[in-house]
């Protein structure tokens, strides 16, 4: 197919960014991951990056499959280890722009330590965390982000653990850019991703997404679109809100916005300075 110069009609507006040979994707109808991918693709389009220099790394889970649909160098790694894998790529080739797209369970639960430490080191990565409050790929288990007292298959009598507050964890560990949007804040989300990708250092964008298949079904919250609308309608934009207040309660108001935007030397900068100081 190398020499087809005939202009074909586009199958999809983002055709050049997606692996069209893998469509249809695996996500359920009404899932918010698609929105996150669209926003990401839109951001790439607007950024006009050299896509050869971009690399997407994912872990395991529903969101972990994102890497497989974006037509750049993409890695689908092991559970929770997307960030260290991406760290290796970034340090191995500092020219690369590395984006980690994964879910809440992958990044905050099993990968929590890597999240904390990559933020502490301030490795130049952009992390897009799609938070759907549940482990969806394995069939709806309780996640560290599950609000109380939501029902899941491993909390059959209601969740009682305090949920994680992803922006706060990111801030406390040293991330330089932290924002949160719901899956329907498409334009704002897109611009947030653009900001995050342009920012040197560890930046985190959390996307609140519905899980139509498990979270909403077990808790009887309607279909995916209902939930998406619910999240959108119940969100309040408060830029610069202290991250302490960002806990998400069950079916309550969600504070969204850009919370942290600060400067810190990245790992590579610090390394270069240190090497200079050493006379090397």
């Amino acid at each position: 197919m190398a020499n087809t110069n005939i202009k074909k009609e586009k199958l999809h507006p983002m055709e050049n960014l997606l692996r069209m040979d893998r469509i249809p994707h695996i996500w359920c109808p009404g899932c918010g991951i698609g929105n996150a991918v669209s926003a990401f693709a839109e951001a790439l389009d607007k950024l006009e990056l050299n896509l050869d220099q971009l690399c997407v790394v994912s872990g395991i889970g529903c969101t972990g499959r994102v890497a497989g649909y974006i037509k750049v160098d993409s890695f689908h790694t092991t559970h929770g280890r997307a960030i260290p894998y991406a760290t290796g790529i970034k340090l191995g080739n500092p020219k690369m722009k590395v984006v980690v797209i994964s879910g809440d369970g992958d990044l905050v639960s099993i990968g929590g330590n890597h999240f904390v430490h990559a933020a502490r080191r301030n490795i130049d990565l952009t992390v897009i965390c799609v938070n759907n409050f549940i482990y969806a790929m394995t069939g709806g288990q309780v996640a560290p982000t599950t609000p109380t007292p939501a029902y899941t298959t491993t909390s059959p009598f209601g969740n009682f653990e305090t949920p994680s507050n992803v922006p706060q964890l990111a801030e406390a560990s040293g991330a330089v850019y932290v924002a949160r949007w719901t899956a329907l804040h498409m334009r704002r989300l897109t611009y947030s991703i653009i900001d995050a990708m342009q920012k040197p250092g560890f930046s985190v964008v959390e996307v609140i997404s519905p899980c139509a298949m498990y979270y909403s079904r077990i808790n009887r919250l309607g279909d995916g679109l209902d939930m998406m609308k619910f999240y959108y309608d119940n969100s309040v934009i408060k830029h610069g809100e202290p991250t302490d207040n960002l806990e998400i309660d069950y079916q309550k108001e969600i504070i969204v916005g850009k919370f942290v935007d600060r400067e810190r030397p990245t790992f590579s900068d610090a390394l270069q300075n240190w090497l200079k100081g050493k006379g090397g």
Binding site: I110, N113, V116, N122, G158, F160, P163
Partner: protein, 238 residues
């Protein structure tokens, strides 16, 4: 016996807690006479896994009071730290924090640091702000002392025993000369915002009790939630 253990012993004794119920879990080995010295059980687990080990103990026998000593905490067990805090597991964590700073509050250390083979990057790889991380992951009691604040540290330990929930005490420790230097450049500020207590070369080391609050523990939340759903059929965790 190591200094921290002596202080720990003072802490236990002044807290009037039933010694038998304390289990010390650590990922660093201590001399084998520690059990006789303190009169408690001691478990040396694999690196970084002391907190989940203690979590298992606590849930199996809620009467136990596991105390976790973590050495160069900052790395291996970070995730367990965050999640135990989030769950508010009734565990007391004592972090032995041995960071290296040639400079504190703009002043150079008077001694040459011992060679630290583990950390070729020590001079620029920023250490975690442990009190702040502990606060962010919802610890109920957070304090920091150097090892030379003997009395205050032991008081703090005793106090943490009276708390129910995830407590963190960041203990700054080092070889005596350096520790002395750290001690001289520390400043007590109780209730300081944990964001401000990050250790940097141009500020004094801030010590003190930063957080003291109440939250239901994992076991309380579990019992409450399940009783409300299941009523009598539920066998409480006690």
């Amino acid at each position: 016996m190591e200094k921290i253990i002596e202080i720990f012993k003072q802490g236990i004794e002044s807290s009037k807690i039933d010694k038998q119920k304390i289990c010390m879990v650590s990922d660093i080995p201590y001399p084998s006479d520690i059990t006789d010295y303190l009169g408690i059980d001691f478990f040396h687990t694999s690196r970084g896994r002391a907190i989940p080990f203690a979590t298992g103990m606590k849930l199996s026998n809620p009467n136990l009071k596991p105390v976790v000593f973590i050495g160069d905490f900052a790395t291996l067990g970070g995730n367990h730290f965050v999640h135990a805090g989030r769950r508010n597991m009734d565990i007391n964590v004592i972090c032995i924090n041995k960071f290296n700073y040639q400079k504190i509050a703009g002043e150079d250390a008077p001694v040459k640091f011992p060679r630290i083979p583990f950390l070729p990057y020590a001079s620029f790889d920023e250490p975690l702000n442990i009190p702040h991380l502990a606060r962010s992951c919802a610890g109920v009691y957070v304090a920091r002392w150097t090892l030379l604040h003997t009395d205050k540290l032991s008081e703090s330990i005793a106090e943490s025993f009276s708390k129910v929930g995830f407590t963190v005490i960041d203990v700054i420790s080092h070889i005596p000369e350096v520790l002395d230097f750290y001690y001289k450049h520390s400043e007590e500020k109780a209730g300081e915002d944990t964001l401000e207590v990050k250790i940097t070369p141009d500020k004094k080391i801030i010590v003190g009790k930063f957080i003291d609050r109440e939250r239901p523990t994992f076991i309380d939340a579990y019992n409450e939630q399940l009783s409300s759903v299941l009523g009598d059929k539920f066998i409480k965790l006690e």
